[in-house]
């Protein structure tokens, strides 16, 4: 048993936990961080795009040290039906800048490095330790944790729950409810290895330039889902995710969908001849603003995916995790510097600061989006992709049909599939949710 007492215990060494532990350790606090994996990152799955701005706020010099894959110069959005895709690509040489804005990373490697910085800052990091329970005192305040490694309890003034999307401890302790099937997506992912030159040729890249593809459409078979293809240096991350509720309802298999995506005629040539080295799966919080639970209480705060802080529309999660971890740590450090106790009232400072940040502002903006995508998934993920593909094929195919007739046919196909009121309603609903 660890006899000493800590200023703070951080559960989890993912993006949120590392940001919190680093920030508190840098401010001279005595921090214990507990991670169940063999090393930090060995349990973590991400696409993965790293957003530089949020990383810079934690470790300004990270570009020279961190294991980064490629800086992104191009983003592709694909709307897919079974045999085609309609694409919007944005590529700019402006992204070849001195301090690039986005990078692809490999989470297991990145987290290991991030954790080394946490240790350097003075935190104690214990891996291969699963926290099994939160400890309360007789006034129901959280005062520490129990782990599966040692007998007894470890005590601290405050516990930072950075335990990721499943959030087992918080649920068990009754701090928040278990994620619901329509608030989380299951993503499956593979790592496809290819020679560097092959990746660069297939994706039109030079040097460390990178590209990411986000895909939606019939690949998710009418469910709320998205596919992704991210270019790393010597491998391609490829995956697809759908709401758990949809998997439950349709009895589609995640691996079946993944293989279907890989076989799509637009995707297969990109990964042809690759060697797969890993198959992973992970949940993603998709409930948005309305799914955010209580963020603080007597002796505890919750950060990152465990607090459902994830912007599914923009595919941002790690940056919200890092930022919420950092802000919680700053709030805790402020309370401590005033020599005040870690009560719920004092820790509400964290929520106040988070409300002011992009984290809550962005999630608020899209608060109606998750529901819309879910209740209208057939339209947005099946009907429209098919209609749009047909419309464009009709537009580009030269077959002697007068253009006026072609346009009429396209319009008719839309009205037939969704009716005028349906089309109008979808447009209004989408605009309202986006605003």
């Amino acid at each position: 048993m660890i006899e000493e007492r800590f200023d703070a215990i951080v559960v989890g060494a993912g993006m949120a936990g590392n940001a919190a532990a680093l920030t508190m350790a840098k401010r001279g606090m005595k921090v214990l961080q507990l991670e169940r994996g063999e090393y930090p990152g060995s349990k973590n799955v991400q696409g993965a795009i790293l957003y530089a701005d949020m990383m810079e706020k934690l470790i300004p010099e990270f570009r020279g040290e961190a294991p980064l894959e490629r800086h992104l110069v191009e983003q592709r959005f694909w709307m897919m039906d079974d045999r085609s895709h309609v694409g919007m690509h944005y590529r700019s040489d402006d992204f070849n800048e001195e301090r690039p804005n986005r990078y692809t990373i490999i989470r297991a490697q990145f987290d290991k490095w991030f954790s080394s910085k946490v240790r350097e800052a003075g935190a104690t990091v214990l891996c291969e330790t699963t926290v099994t329970e939160l400890v309360r005192d007789d006034r129901e305040r959280i005062v520490g944790v129990r782990t599966d490694r040692r007998d007894g309890e470890i005590h601290a003034d405050v516990v930072v729950l950075a335990e990721g999307v499943n959030g087992l401890l918080g649920t068990r302790a009754g701090l928040r409810s278990r994620p619901k099937p329509d608030n989380v997506a299951l993503a499956v992912k593979e790592m496809h290895f290819l020679p560097r030159e092959t990746i660069e040729a297939r994706f039109n890249l030079k040097g460390d330039e990178g590209v990411v593809i986000e895909a939606a459409g019939t690949i998710s078979r009418g469910m709320t889902g998205m596919g992704f293809i991210y270019a790393n240096k010597e491998c391609i991350s490829l995956g697809i995710g759908c709401l758990v509720a949809d998997f439950q309802r349709t009895a589609q298999t995640p691996y079946g969908m993944l293989d279907h995506f890989k076989q799509h005629p637009s995707v297969a040539p990109l990964i042809a001849g690759s060697e797969v080295k890993e198959y992973a799966a992970h949940l993603i919080p998709e409930g948005g603003y309305k799914a955010i639970p209580q963020l603080y209480g007597e002796g505890w705060v919750v950060v990152g995916d465990a607090a459902q802080l994830n912007n599914a529309i923009h595919r941002e999660g790690s940056n919200l995790a890092m930022t919420s971890g950092r802000i919680a740590a700053e709030a805790i450090a402020q309370v401590k510097s005033r020599r005040e106790p870690m009560t719920a009232t004092n820790l509400s400072l964290y929520k106040k600061m988070l409300d002011e940040s992009f984290v809550i502002k962005d999630l608020k903006k899209y608060k109606d989006m998750p529901m819309l995508m879910h209740t209208h998934s057939q339209n947005f993920f099946l009907t429209y992709p098919q209609l749009i593909s047909k419309a464009l094929q009709n537009f580009v195919r030269v077959d002697g049909t007068p253009k006026v007739e072609k346009e009429k046919a396209t319009l008719k196909s839309f009205v037939k599939a969704r009716s005028w009121t349906g089309l109008f309603g979808d447009a209004c609903r989408f605009t309202r949710a986006w605003r």
């Binding site: 169940r36 994996g37 063999e38 990152g41 060995s42 349990k43 973590n44 799955v45 991400q46 993965a48 490999i106 989470r107 297991a108 490697q109 987290d111 891996c127 291969e128 330790t129 699963t130 099994t132 782990t147 599966d148 490694r149 999307v165 499943n166 087992l168 278990r178 994620p179 619901k180 099937p181 989380v184 299951l186 499956v188 593979e190 790592m191 491998c235 991350s237 758990v244 998997f247 439950q248 009895a251 589609q252 298999t253 995640p254 691996y255 079946g256 293989d259 797969v276 080295k277 890993e278 198959y279 992973a280 799966a281 992970h282 949940l283």
Partner: protein, 98 residues
């Protein structure tokens, strides 16, 4: 169930590294005679295909290939059909890339 015959999950899991905690499964299925709809959903929803039907039509789990995603917990823990925890520290799946 609607499991696609062309895809063999076993082949996918073969790429992964695991440290199996022999004799201490972190997920268990409650004994039953007829499986609930939630349990049946796990046959297709589990990305590692850990759940199988036995000859008596009951759902069984083998956790060795579990990737610790939590999907089965979200679906079948509320009904009490399964008990779900993380493996002991250091055990379970070990992602090299993640």
């Amino acid at each position: 169930m609607n499991v696609e015959p062309t895809v063999r999950v076993e082949d996918k899991l073969y790429y992964n590294r695991y440290l199996v905690d022999v004799g201490r499964p972190h997920v268990t299925v409650r004994a039953h005679t007829t499986p609930s709809p939630q349990l049946l959903a796990l046959l297709s929803a589990c990305p590692a295909r850990c759940y199988e039907l036995n000859d008596n039509g009951q759902v069984e789990i083998t956790v060795d290939g579990c990737i610790e995603c939590g999907t089965c917990r979200v679906i079948a823990e509320p009904t009490g059909d399964i008990k779900w925890s993380y493996p002991r520290g250091g055990y379970g799946v070990l992602f090299k890339f993640g």
